[in-house]
Amino acid sequence: MSGGVDSAVAAARIAEAGHDVTGVHLALSSNPQSYRTGARGCCTLEDSRDARRAADVIGIPFYIWDMAERFHRDVVEDFVNEYAAGRTPNPCLRCNEKIKFEAVLDRALALGFDAVATGHHARLSDGLLLRSVDQGKDQSYVLGVLTREQLSHAIFPLGGSTKAEVREEAAARGLAVADKPDSHDICFIADGDTRGFLAERLGAEQGPIVDESGAVLGTHAGAYGFTVGQRKGLRIDRPTPDGRPRYVLSIEPVSNTVTVGPRSSLAVSSIVAERPVWNGPLAEPYEPLACHVQLRAHGEVYGCRAQVSGGVLHIELDSPATGVAAGQAAVLYSGDTVLGSATIASSS
């Protein structure tokens, strides 16, 4: 229970359904004040009080589990290391994979619980992960990395409801968090300044910004501050010959080089992704499988053919995609059903 409206209603629903429910709030920092406060994020002192108050209203026991060390190692350090390697990680996805459905789940099972329920907007049906009925709030993408085993111990009570319905229900249940704003951004970056956060940890080493031919157009203050597909903040004073904007095409951490170019060069149609997870109804496809793929949270969905060979996933898109960043997950869908996922390694 993060202290937000979703987990509060999720807890209320399963308690009402007759399960023996215990509320757990995760302490993710040894210094909670350093995380985002109140309305904007999660994991602060105020949020833990909100969560406890919700548990009291629902009438379930409530405990705080200290996951600060695991979170720091598996999410925060992973986040920094991924950027250092020129990739763009999704820390929420990593938190689901390593904290909520690994560290928390393992401890819960050992203590005699059967499952972990969360307020994620996604459905589970016969062990299969499906999109939420509220497509705008769907979170199946950040859960797509879970294994069948993890999903078999998961409960997502909110997947059949829209966010508006959840808020309405929270108000009707007398939960004070009914109007609490949604969390945004990254909970462990207190001021929302991702670039500053990374600079503090990785240093700010200047490097070249080059075009596709290798010509130097400018300098940057640290390659990790960029994301593939980014247009703003390049600070190149020389305009392009045709006056069109430049985009970040790739980031090379070893040479500390950022390559930029026209939007057309961003388009990719072939993707290679590592560490595939097959958690859907189908076996790993060794022949091309026609399905859909989502390449970032709340991103567009593309038709594709996906195939596993040599332990990696090869995806051929039906139409080119832009802003495909290494480190993000490629989550495969058939309709609303998640088939599996893998971490994007390269694209062309």
Binding site: A27, P61, Y63, I64, A103, D106, A110
Partner: protein, 386 residues
């Protein structure tokens, strides 16, 4: 349900409920001059006399407060300020196992007011040796502003040699404060006989209401106030006196002191049974604190391989209520400073639970605990390994 957390708070005694409710329906401010005020003042002053009589103090030595924390703050901060202003004394000596109501005011004085805070080492049972205090004082006796050592520890129940410690302070003319919130009603406590200058009592630990307590303050010992205002209590504590709570508090102190010997003997027998049966169910359990010099209602254990949080949660789910006895920061359990000071490592400190008995405890409570503790420890051990 087995409530084994009487050191956190204990149910109100019938005498206290009766005395308090009788006052709740009456109007009157003890500071008012009219008949209603006089009537209320009479209740307050009779309560003061009752408490003084039960604890070996003069009525004028009883300063009512909002509870133990306020009394500790008044004693430690107030005496530091007074002595510092008078002589420049800047040292504050406390045992390393004090409650946070004592430690935190002292550390605040250190951080913000120029005090030099020194924690007195304790032995493996949590006891301060008289020689430790003597050596600490004698390094610069004229600079010691105030000394505070609790009468009995809230976590592990260890009883301090208060009379000996107070006598050493007295040799040097240094005011000595003791937090006796856990001791009153379980141990013989006499303010005048103890040799201390200031002593903290709390209402809800002895079967009175929450939100009321007292600092017993010897004549001629005048701390600088923490709360300024009407000066109702000897000009060292301000605020309208809570006459109903004070009446309930006095009734509880009277009853718990009157019944102390019989009550303590009963608790000690029940507590010893609890310890023996928990040891039988969990053979590698470690009893913390002194084997004999401990509060009769206290049993404090470390369960190797377990996290105290997990044990507490599993016991709660089985209807057994106890405490990890450790301080919380943002609700996250920190290893107890008391156990660490006693030489325990952080892992053992985290795997600890306090069971504390009180006037409503029965053998059935112990049965309930013993019936589940083996299974709970086994399960917590499994979780501890993940």
């Amino acid at each position: 349900m087995a409530y084994l957390d009487h050191a956190a708070t204990t149910p109100m005694l019938p005498e206290a409920i009766e005395a308090m409710t009788a006052q709740l329906v009456r109007v009157g401010n003890a500071s008012s001059l009219h008949a209603a005020g006089r009537r209320t003042r009479r209740v307050v002053e009779e309560s003061r006399e009752t408490i003084a009589g039960a604890l070996g103090a003069r009525p004028s030595e009883v300063v009512f407060t909002s509870g133990g924390t306020e009394a500790d703050n008044l004693a430690i901060k107030g005496l530091f300020w007074a002595r510092h202003a008078a002589s420049g004394a800047d040292r504050v000596l406390l045992s390393a196992v004090e409650h946070h109501a004592g430690l935190d005011p002292a550390h605040w004085l250190g951080d913000r007011q120029g005090a030099s805070v020194e924690l007195l080492d304790v032995d493996e049972y949590g006891r301060v040796h008289p020689g430790t205090l003597r050596a600490a004082i004698e390094s610069a006796p004229e600079r010691v502003a105030v000394i505070s050592v609790m009468w009995a520890n809230n976590e592990v129940g260890t009883v301090q040699p208060i009379h000996e410690l107070a006598a050493i302070a007295r040799e040097h003319g240094i005011p000595f404060h003791t937090d006796a919130v856990q001791a009153v009603g379980q141990l013989p406590v006499s303010f005048s006989g103890s040799g201390v200058e200031a002593l903290t009592v709390s209402g809800h630990k002895v079967g009175g209401p929450m939100g009321v307590g007292a600092l017993l303050l010897a004549r001629g010992v005048d701390p600088v106030p923490v709360l300024h205002g009407g000066g109702q209590e000897r000009d060292v504590r301000s605020g309208t006196l809570d006459a109903p709570a004070i009446a309930g508090f006095a009734a509880a102190v009277r009853a718990s002191v009157d019944n102390r010997e019989e009550h303590a003997a009963r608790l000690r027998a029940l507590r010893d049974e609890l310890i023996a049966r928990v040891r039988h169910a969990v053979p590698d359990v470690i009893l913390n604190g002194h084997p004999d010099e401990r509060l009769p209602g206290n049993a404090h254990f470390s369960f190797p391989g377990c996290e105290g949080d997990a044990l507490l949660m599993l016991l709660d789910a089985k209807g057994v209520e106890c405490s990890t006895g450790s301080a919380c920061s943002a609700g996250v359990a920190q290893p107890s400073h008391v156990l660490l000071a006693m030489g325990s490592d952080a892992v053992r400190a985290r795997g600890s639970l306090r069971f504390s008995l009180g006037h409503t405890s029965t053998r059935a409570d112990v049965d309930e605990l013993v019936n589940v503790i083996g299974g709970v420890v086994e399960r917590a051990r499994r979780a501890g390994l993940t």
